[in-house]
């Protein structure tokens, strides 16, 4: 897929354009709560950024390695509960709570290592199901350990005395910081040797092992890297929403939503999960608010979901990139047709190398 990304020939210009685009997007993101001061609007911003960061982090593990985890809500919920319990026990107040978030990340890493060691022994569907099993064990623990989690009544946040007109802003910028860090990290990993090893595992794990990749070590590192930000986001989300209970902290729909965002944008790409989250989270918030008549929104959501997966099986970014490359080549070919006997390089031809691209690069 690197072939598409680096474009054809004009690497320098394209790279500069992409950087400029990312910079412009960042500027828009920074200015957003200053322009839209309405709390109802910046609420969309906070929740969307939480999901941008979550989808990018999830993609670093599941997108790059092909191991689809439906258990990352474990780390999200752990982060929420860790921050909640620590805030209560250590009497932390105000914006000091944000200082607890890195600790929540450490807690998630400590949990992620044993979970990863057990779960990463199995592949494909079995891996998916074992992550679901872990997820339910954690949810049940949240229900059944009320001395720690307050059970179904939930853990409340202490009173927050932020200025009500700009209440959302601290949350917004923390979420933005996490999101930007994760996007940069995702981009760095994708270009690194580590990222190449991850993608080699996705292509063919046994072959990657033969080429000298240590799959367990590499997979586990990616698993832990993607678990840590989930806990940060969980803690932030708890402080923002004001309460966490077992069904909202450990929410199966969280995993499905994050996976769907990555799929919609393009699994295993850097920008795909960002785009997917930017489209889906506001859409979902809007749906649930507007379509209040019963459960029609569930039906609409499911139908939209089906259309997207069946129409854009590889996600928006890869499909779009393919279309653009194809269009450019057609134009280039019509401008100066290739000499006879020399086959025209087509998008499809270049893409066919994609299947074992990572393993070939490693070899």
């Amino acid at each position: 897929m690197t072939a598409i990304w680096r474009g054809s020939g004009k690497i320098g210009t394209e790279h500069r354009w992409r950087l400029a685009g990312a910079g412009a997007l960042l500027a828009v993101a920074v200015a957003f709560p200053l322009v839209f001061t309405n709390p109802a609007v910046s609420n969309y911003g906070v929740l969307t950024l939480v999901f941008v960061a979550a989808a990018v982090s999830w993609n670093i593990f599941s997108g790059y390695t092909g191991y689809i985890s439906l258990g990352h809500a474990i780390f999200f919920g752990t982060g929420a509960y860790f921050t909640g319990v620590a805030t209560k026990d250590w009497h932390v107040t105000g914006s000091d709570v944000f200082g607890l978030l890195p600790l929540a990340g450490v807690a998630a890493a400590i949990i992620a290592v044993p979970l990863g060691i057990v779960a990463l022994r199995v592949r494909r569907h079995t891996f998916v199901v074992i992550t679901i099993a872990f997820f339910f064990i954690f949810q049940l623990m949240a229900y059944n350990l009320p001395s720690l989690t307050q059970g179904t009544s939930g853990l409340l946040t202490p009173t927050i005395n932020f200025d009500p007109t700009t209440f959302n802003n601290p949350f917004y910028y923390v979420a933005l910081a996490v999101a930007v860090c994760m996007i940069v990290l995702s981009w760095l990993i994708r270009r690194s040797r580590f990222g190449l090893q991850l993608r080699a595992i996705k292509d063919d794990e046994d072959r990657a092992r033969g080429l000298g990749v240590r799959p367990m070590r590499v997979k586990l590192s990616a698993f832990v890297i993607s678990a840590v930000p989930m806990a940060l986001l969980g803690g932030l989300w708890w402080y923002y929403i004001g309460i966490v209970d077992p069904s909202s902290g450990f929410d199966p729909l969280f995993d499905v939503a994050v996976a769907l965002m990555a799929f919609l944008g393009g699994l295993g790409t850097v920008s795909g999960p960002v785009l997917g989250a930017l489209i889906l989270e506001p859409a979902q918030l809007y749906f649930t608010q507007q379509v209040t008549s019963g459960y029609v929104y569930l039906i609409l959501y499911g139908a939209l979901f089906l259309v997207v997966i069946l129409m854009l099986p590889r996600g928006i970014i890869p499909t779009g990139a393919e279309l653009i490359t194809g269009w450019r080549e057609r134009r280039a070919r019509s401008a100066n047709p290739p000499p006879p006997g020399q086959p025209a390089s087509s998008a499809a031809g270049r893409l066919s190398g994609r299947e074992s691209g990572a393993t070939r690069e490693l070899a």
Binding site: G66, I68, L70, V118, R121, V122, R123, R124, H125, T126, V128, V129, I130, I132, A133, F134, F136, I137, L140, Y143, N144, D204, E205, D206, P252, V256, A259, L260, F263, L267, G294, Y295, V296, Y297, L298, I299, L300, Y301, G302, A303, F305, L306, I309, L310, P313, R314, E355
Partner: protein
Amino acid sequence: MTQYAQAVTDGILGGAVYALMAAGLTLIFGVLDIINIAQGILVVLAAYLSYALSVHLHIDLLVGLLITIPSMFALGLFIEWAFMRRLRGRERTAMSLLVSYAVAVIIEGSLYQAFGVTQVSLKAWYITSSVHIFGFYLADIYLIGFGLAAVSLTAIYFMLYRTKFGRSVRATMQDRTAARLVGINVDRVSGLTFGIGVAVTAAGGMVFGATNVFNADSGYDLISRLLAIVILGGLGSIGGAMAAALIMVTGEEIVNIWAPTWSTAVFYAALVIVLVIRPEGLLGKRAVRAQ
């Protein structure tokens, strides 16, 4: 001691119904190489069908099966034809999960819309009665469920091992490409298998609805249990699914005596422990070279 014996009896009788629902899931996996996340909500849908037939048309639950089994079979054929058949390529595993999840969400929304959130349960004279044998009280509905599961599983067994169609199903399970090469219509086999896998939810749903209160939300609990069962048994192994269902439901009943709030954890804890020791599940085949 009596309570343990009772727990084991209940576990075996109740486990048989889970075995039937899980057999459908594992059969679909074996042939199509996809996990049908919608299986849980399909069970609930079947339960609601039985409910609607008995409440609105006053059709007895058992007689109603004559209508619900073909309906669920047809629905299975449709889902396979409309969605599953269109999945191709490298991300097929993950996409099949998402597609069947989307189907589940649509069914869930429709059920909420049609029946509301209030939990209901099925009613019939044999649901509240029980028989007294050897000092045990056995609820009639559990015996009926066990009977239905036994009959259906035997029928599936004969279908698989004694018919020509069954042979093509098993061939497709072993090697899809080779099956196609020897002239098996793999698409037709896949469609019918999906239909059969979904049809078993009709009987399962009827018994589930009779022994539990349910609403559209019950699908999540069901599918997570069924997934734990099929993985523990070894994906694609019907015998494994049956064994795992009996072991897990019995285990749950026994733990229920000691610590009722933790009994649901038995499913997931057992799964994790078994997979640490045997990654391919109880009766699963070790994948020679998994993609």
